[in-house]
Symmetry: C2
Subunit: 193 residues, 2 copies
């Protein structure tokens, strides 16, 4: 998605440890009009699938998933990162290694919100080593639901997550794939539009 690549080049900042800061429009401040363009693009890419639910994980995936879900007219369900007094009943859990937080945490989803008849589109802001998406895929598998695809805003193509998940036959589409990045340049993998 050309507009996204341009926005990353203009506003993104590369930090040590392969961190790309895009907190001005994606995951701290959210540029809603721009995220709407991202939502439309996900609908263009996955709108032909029989999606019944969009699944993401708190926190930075939620806004993108909600804006995207408007085009699909389906509910969003987000996996939570910590056990809350407010979550009871049967839960799906999966372990996720956070790259940016440098720790392992549990993600939790109430069983009542994912059923075998559901067709699920996963939406998230970043895909790097793939741990968050793999945790969500584990939950979908435990529920006996179907995976229709994975829509990612920015994939770090130099880490193995996207390659590994595609190798399992899952339809992963990333709106921008970073081939390499350094202090003074960011290069993208060319994609068919």
């Amino acid at each position: 998605m050309k507009a996204l690549e341009e926005k990353i080049l203009k506003e993104g900042q590369v930090r040590p440890g392969h961190i790309l800061k895009v907190d001005g429009f994606l995951n701290h401040q959210i540029d809603i009009d721009f995220i709407n363009e991202i939502g439309k693009e996900f609908y263009r890419l996955f709108g032909n699938k029989p999606v019944t639910k969009i699944l993401t994980v708190e926190a930075s995936g939620i806004g993108i998933a909600c804006i995207t879900a408007q085009y699909f007219h389906v509910p969003v369900v987000f996996a939570k990162k910590a056990q809350s007094l407010n979550l009871d009943g049967s839960l799906y859990t999966a372990k996720v290694q956070s790259y940016t937080h440098n720790r392992v945490y549990d993600v939790i989803l109430s069983k009542k919100f994912l059923k075998p008849e559901d067709h699920v589109l996963i939406i998230d802001d970043f895909l790097a080593n793939g741990c968050a998406v793999n945790g969500l895929l584990d939950i979908i598998e435990a529920a006996g639901a179907s995976v229709e695809g994975v829509g990612i805003v920015i994939e770090k193509g130099f880490q193995s997550g996207g390659r590994d998940i595609r190798a399992r036959g899952i339809d992963v589409k990333s709106l921008a794939i970073i081939k390499s990045m350094s202090d003074d340049s960011i290069e993208f993998v060319e994609q068919e539009s």
Copy 2:
């Protein structure tokens, strides 16, 4: 908001400790078409104010804030609950007591996303003892920005948060205010429409 009261009566579940579960449409699964009606209502209530930014706190406020922001055409900024490797630079912090998680945590906001010239609308899912909103108000004050109002989906009117914040002259509007609730009934405070 009549449709919201009806939805709470139909889908809400009262749990011990004054907990109202509305996780089927508001804060775990999100009914996007319904949240759009909520966003339109917030715009009806606050659309005459010179709002430049919508502020919320992760995680359950994000979806509602993003959908609402579409009507205002302003960015969302969400305060984060934990220090991340991905947050650097100057930060505003405030302490928040979580009722549902039963602990105190820090919320953090990058200084670059809130400036003295900003006019801020706070949006959140619940208002009970008011700690989350008070933390956000502290951050707005520290930034020297203006508070244009606080839009809440569900206020627990039997707890003191809403009363205390209104007493400070802040324009708090809650789409449903619960007067009392028990296992078998939920009563609302009547509001002008």
